[in-house]
Subunit: 608 residues, 2 copies
């Protein structure tokens, strides 16, 4: 057999290739990956290569090539169509299938659970009467893509005949995890989308991703409609216990909400072929219609912690009806799939440095570790950081005081207000700032007491005053400076609430450090939207978490949402979540004999 | 370690067993199978053994034993509870797990797809907070029954918490094919039932089986409600094509019908944990809601031939909602899962003799072969054998003439009538008898002509006459002998219809024999209820099938239904069906160049 030397640039991979082989086969033999969705059928036009030398040995353009190659493309061929009859040097751009960067800046490759395959099925004939459409499809998938042992979802089976006939026996098949056909489309269809959903107790965020490029193309968020039944997870559990249909009702609410988000993406439901969900364990159970009551009482038992794949149609989720919704694994009753998502987004298990990750919400979840192991715990911070249980507290919306500075000399504050309007209240980041600045200005002491008796000059400012009940408070904004016409103050009770919340976080982190036998962490990651807004110095000043050099404290944004996106774009990240959650050491700190001691010490500012 | 000699009768298996081991462990070590559903937990009382010698070395009865052993049992112990401290001779009745006998009289063991396991789950504690109920259940199933890698159906997951708590962490788990948990019940629950369904174009039969004993405990049949849309499969296809919702309508009808059968079994839906379905390929597609149109036109393509498992709830079938409905494989468009069922019931592939199996219905399906290979074909017999297209034809119901004898001398008939009432019409077996007897009496000739010109004496009988249109007919019953007051006659057209039907069957069988290179078959099996009623001699006389010694012709009853039952009781029979169908050589006889010739020759009585 005559052979020719073929070189692929830029990799420089080269070898002797049999006369008559296609460039696509040559690339495969030499380990060069070319883009091709149609399996070498000359249908998709994706496998273009530039001919640097040797065009004369490659024959003329085939009909299929003429369809895809324009004069402006230069000396270009379709690798699957073009056959080798002489030496050639080709330029094949490296196929970049990197979806996103991981925590360490290492790219995460695009490897979604649902992949598309174009296939040409043999039309039926009197010669193969024992074969149904399904059997001929399976044979074609095996012959053209090496796929075998596939199952065919029942709903996809019902649409099989139409798809094959509409596409004149050409079809595009969407395969889930290399196991099951979840969609059949006539002809060639490249588009495939997925939705990553982060269900918070308060807000729900959907990230619509293009599964062919790995890009997030739309982000839609909505309020969790279950909020009418209570602000936190415990009140949702109570609602499900107190009302016979409470669970079904709340499940319906969240499913409607997610379907609303899907509607807002503007895509047809069938084009969304995969979905991942992260949330806390209570939201997880309610979404699944599984009783969350066990999570509410000791020993806080979830029904299930392992990852789940549930058919979208069984949940009533309006994506492609044969597709699955993937739920990331939970760690325990109060450390949910959202923590698993933070884990795979921040990858502490790949790092040499000791990383402390704090996800602050109604509950604070803490992860601590490095490549030698990771431990985790949930801290009952209470809702102070969300503005609840704070006299003038509000969510981070227009009119919220989000930044506070207090002049140590004059004790006068300067405020940053969302939307640059008159103040209406104070949100979480503002509260942390306020307490830190009150401490720095000497208005509260180490123990958190406003109006400390031994520092006479404090009373120099009118801002430190007593309310109608005689309780001390600090005035951040006078009535004429506010939208409501009432002063916005920080009360002694507010300071106490912040101390309790930050004390729980700090004590939890210290306890994990003690269990891990370390004195100091190398990095602190603040996960969650809230973490992006707080002032790191203020957080350190009040002692929200153990000391760490300022430059090593990083806000990671919605790391749980990022984890959901990664799990959507890369199947391996789902296995990783499962494996790392299994390895994770979960500490139940509320019952830990050392916790009380740590907690008491952590109540001081910054801490004892 | 001290050891004791333990002997199990009647097998005589014996060995040295460590002191303190249980009798159940000893049995396991010595290869003696004892019945036990609870996994040795002393819950089910199934592992009773009789102590022939050595009771004194077995300690006193435990509490668990006292619950199950009555004084009338004699010297009996529960093997799982009783510990060995001395030599002993025990009698353990052989566990007979044979469900039914196969075609060759070899027992088919009871090995259903859904099996039950009793399990004791560790209650949750603060020490294993990372484990949900699901994870603890899986660990217990692994530890107590060696089951691993199980999935848990979503609906079963929703009921998991309740089942575990109601049973105080004892539960019975129903596992499908060793893969998936499809039912969870609190405590110990032994009962398990399955339904085998044979869906005919005209009638539907359900066989309710006890999956713990292998016995058929109830048989329920019903008319196929689709009959209003036409008598045969082609008219059903036409109805689905002519009416936009025709397919959905007919699917709903058959599902309601099967649900009606389930209702009549008197069992609660959840107790039926498995179901098998056999039917022709058109009924199969309609049941699945899959368009049957392709089967109606060349090349007669089904959507799917491979076996399918579809969740009962997705079909709307009212058995245990997490269970599957198993559809046996189809062979081709006109050789359906019912033929696959006949195949595994009659097992020609295990026989040395050449077996010809004829399943007579609106279509006749023929299987021919032995342990060297089996071939099959469908013959368009038309509905003559069902009494359709016959002037006085009717179903085999009260008033139907089912047996006919004609005195060769007097030409007078004697009739057997169902229910011993006045005649109303004639059914299939009666028609075959009538034509055979008319031939034997010389009233019709080899070519099927009534009133043959050359046999003068025929006109001696008044029974051979001409109808109003001058066409010859033979009077079986005079007006005064019938319920309708009109004579029941066999017309020339009737004889022609029988010739066409039997000719198709005979020619099909001969063609298969020719393809297999054989001159003679060793056995003829008549499958289907119809086969049980026809007179074998009459069938041979008219030439319904190739010659065979009378004693080697056997009516097998509803072999398709039997195959459905076998597939329900023994999982291996499902694999066998799939494997044997794959090996089966399907002949499309209508397009075979030799068929016309065979068919013409086969029209003669008995044949040319």
């Amino acid at each position: 057999m005559k052979k020719h030397t073929v070189v692929f640039l830029p990799s420089g991979k080269s070898g002797e290739i049999n006369d008559g082989a296609s460039l696509l086969d040559a690339a495969g033999l030499l380990g060069v990956t070319l883009d091709s969705i149609c399996g070498g059928n000359g249908i998709c036009g994706k496998c273009k290569v530039l001919v640097k030398e040797g065009m004369s040995g490659l024959g003329g353009l085939t009909d299929a090539e003429s369809e895809f190659i324009k004069p402006s493309d230069g000396p270009t061929r379709l690798a699957c169509q073009c056959r080798i009859h002489g030496n050639a040097i080709l330029y094949a751009p490296t196929v970049e299938r990197f979806a996103r960067k991981g925590a360490l800046g290492i790219p995460v490759s695009l490897d979604p659970a649902v992949k598309k395959y174009f296939v040409r099925v043999d039309p039926p004939s009197m010669q193969d009467m024992g074969k149904g459409d399904r059997e001929r499809l399976m044979e074609a998938l095996h012959a053209q893509h090496g796929l075998s042992g596939l199952s065919l979802d029942y709903f996809a089976l019902m649409g099989l005949q139409d798809a094959l006939r509409k596409g004149r026996w050409d079809a595009t098949v969407s395969v889930w995890r290399g196991k099951e056909i979840v969609r059949l489309e006539p002809g060639l269809s490249e588009a495939a989308f997925g939705l990553a959903v982060d269900i918070g107790t308060t807000t729900v965020a959907g990230y619509l991703c293009d599964l062919t490029s790995g890009k997030i193309i739309n982000t839609v968020s909505a309020m969790n409609p279950q909020s009418v039944h209570g602000e936190d997870v415990m009140s949702r559990i109570s609602y499900s216990m107190a009302n016979p249909d409470g669970l079904k009702e709340m499940q319906g609410e969240i499913i409607n909400c997610v379907n609303g988000i899907i509607g807002e993406t503007g895509l047809s439901a069938a084009d969304i072929v995969d979905m991942t969900v992260v949330c806390n364990t209570v939201m997880h159970h309610i979404f699944l219609g599984v009783n969350p009551a066990g999570i509410g009482v000791a020993p806080f038992v979830p029904a299930v912690t392992r990852p789940l794949d549930v058919k979208a149609r069984e949940l009533g989720i309006n994506i492609n009806q044969s597709s699955y919704v993937h739920f990331l694994p939970a760690v325990a009753g109060f450390v949910g799939p959202d923590s698993a998502a933070v884990l795979i987004a921040e990858e502490p298990y790949r790092q040499d440095e000791k990383v402390l990750i704090i996800d602050i919400g109604t509950n604070g979840e803490i992860l601590l570790g490095d490549n030698n192991g990771v431990i985790c715990a949930a801290c009952a911070t209470g809702p102070a950081f969300e503005g609840a249980q704070i006299k003038s507290g509000m969510r981070a919306a227009e009119g919220a005081i989000e930044k506070v500075r207090i002049d140590a000399g004059t004790k006068e504050p300067s405020l940053g207000i969302i939307g640059n309007v008159k103040a209406k209240g104070i949100c979480g980041s503002g509260i942390i700032d306020a307490v830190a600045e009150l401490f720095r200005a000497g208005i509260i002491d180490k123990s958190g007491r406003l109006e400390p008796p031994r520092t006479k000059n404090i009373s120099d400012t009118e801002r430190l005053r007593r309310d109608a009940g005689g309780r001390p408070e600090y005035v951040l904004a006078w009535p004429e400076e506010t939208q409501t016409g009432a002063a916005i103050t920080i009360t002694q009770a507010d300071v106490r609430a912040v101390q309790l919340a930050k004390g729980a976080l700090y004590a939890g982190a210290k306890l994990l450090m003690r269990r891990m036998g370390i004195e100091k962490v190398d990095k602190v990651i603040l996960a969650g939207a809230f973490g992006s807004y707080i002032n790191k110095e203020s957080a350190l000043t009040i002692g929200m978490f153990p000391e760490c050099a300022l430059e090593n404290i990083r806000a990671a944004g919605n790391a749980a949402g990022e984890g959901a996106v990664l799990a959507l774009l890369n199947m391996g990240k789902r296995e990783e979540a499962q494996e790392e959650v299994m390895k994770l050491n979960h500490l139940e700190i509320a019952t830990d004999p050392d916790f009380q001691e740590e907690f008491l010490a952590a109540m001081d500012i910054p801490h004892r």
